[in-house]
Subunit: 185 residues, 2 copies
Amino acid sequence: MAENPPSGKQTLAEGRHLNFVVRNGWEFVERRNISGIVVVIGTTNHGCLVLVTQWREPVKAWVVELPAGLAGDVPGSEKEALAEAAKRELLEETGFEASSMEPVLTGPPSPGISDEVVTFFRARGLVRSSRGGGVSEENVRAHAVPLSGLSDWLATVQARGMLVDPKVYAGAYVVRKEMDEWMYE
Amino acid sequence: MAENPPSGKQTLAEGRHLNFVVRNGWEFVERRNISGIVVVIGTTNHGCLVLVTQWREPVKAWVVELPAGLAGDVPGSEKEALAEAAKRELLEETGFEASSMEPVLTGPPSPGISDEVVTFFRARGLVRSSRGGGVSEENVRAHAVPLSGLSDWLATVQARGMLVDPKVYAGAYVVRKEMDEWMYE
């Protein structure tokens, strides 16, 4: 076996969606064939945060998450803009459409094991226009949760065995910060 | 090649720290030989949040994160309690010791691609007792950032090319919520 130079990347396995690689002594997975990952912090005009629940086989549980998805993963739309992907994923997963969609945060959720960097969009004025539920084999349920009762709602679903993706709290931080800024303006 | 039953797990590659597997059509990585993952939301009595920055090869960038680490990954301490791991990681990475350490949140940061579930600990009364910096080849820098200037600090380091792990905002949410509850009590 030829020795790789220290800076070289070695692919240990190629999957359909992920490659498992080692580079400079770090083992991690790379997403294949995407141009970005989008997450949507969406609220209705009635003070609800729109969340989704779906089965996540890697953790063998139903997980509460912000609506999210991949950009550029649909053949023919490899150059899809992130804001367009955010609108598409929001509609596909939840059936909601937003009156505005702005990028607010970017960051890597698991930088020790993955090359993923996600972009959070702030979506306002959400109105339900269709059923949602995800495409093909996805089985996504949408929930419009009053912000004033978010902690209680999350506690209830966790008591039933669901897990909560920490990005939900990052989204709650963004919304709460806006409310505080508005209060003290 | 023998066909796996639909519910079976197939290991596509075994690394030193991660296994790359497929189960029920989902590709993901599993952590090897750990009992948990801990993240520390630690504040000093002077209103600072303790953060770390370190190079993360998977995203080829310096990343701002909450202090964090693996439990049970040290031979001989496979049954290490999560709270003990949180104290150890906080001290190793930052040199800070806490007067209290309580679990506050649990969740999967990347449930589509990893079996990781992290436990967030709320640490109070942080005082610096040693240099920190991580063990062996780790190169971790600690920062005590005033909560009142957190957004500005994060904007500044991002302008220099650093990335911010979204779990930092989840931690900020926990601390801000406490402050609000205290204000309105």
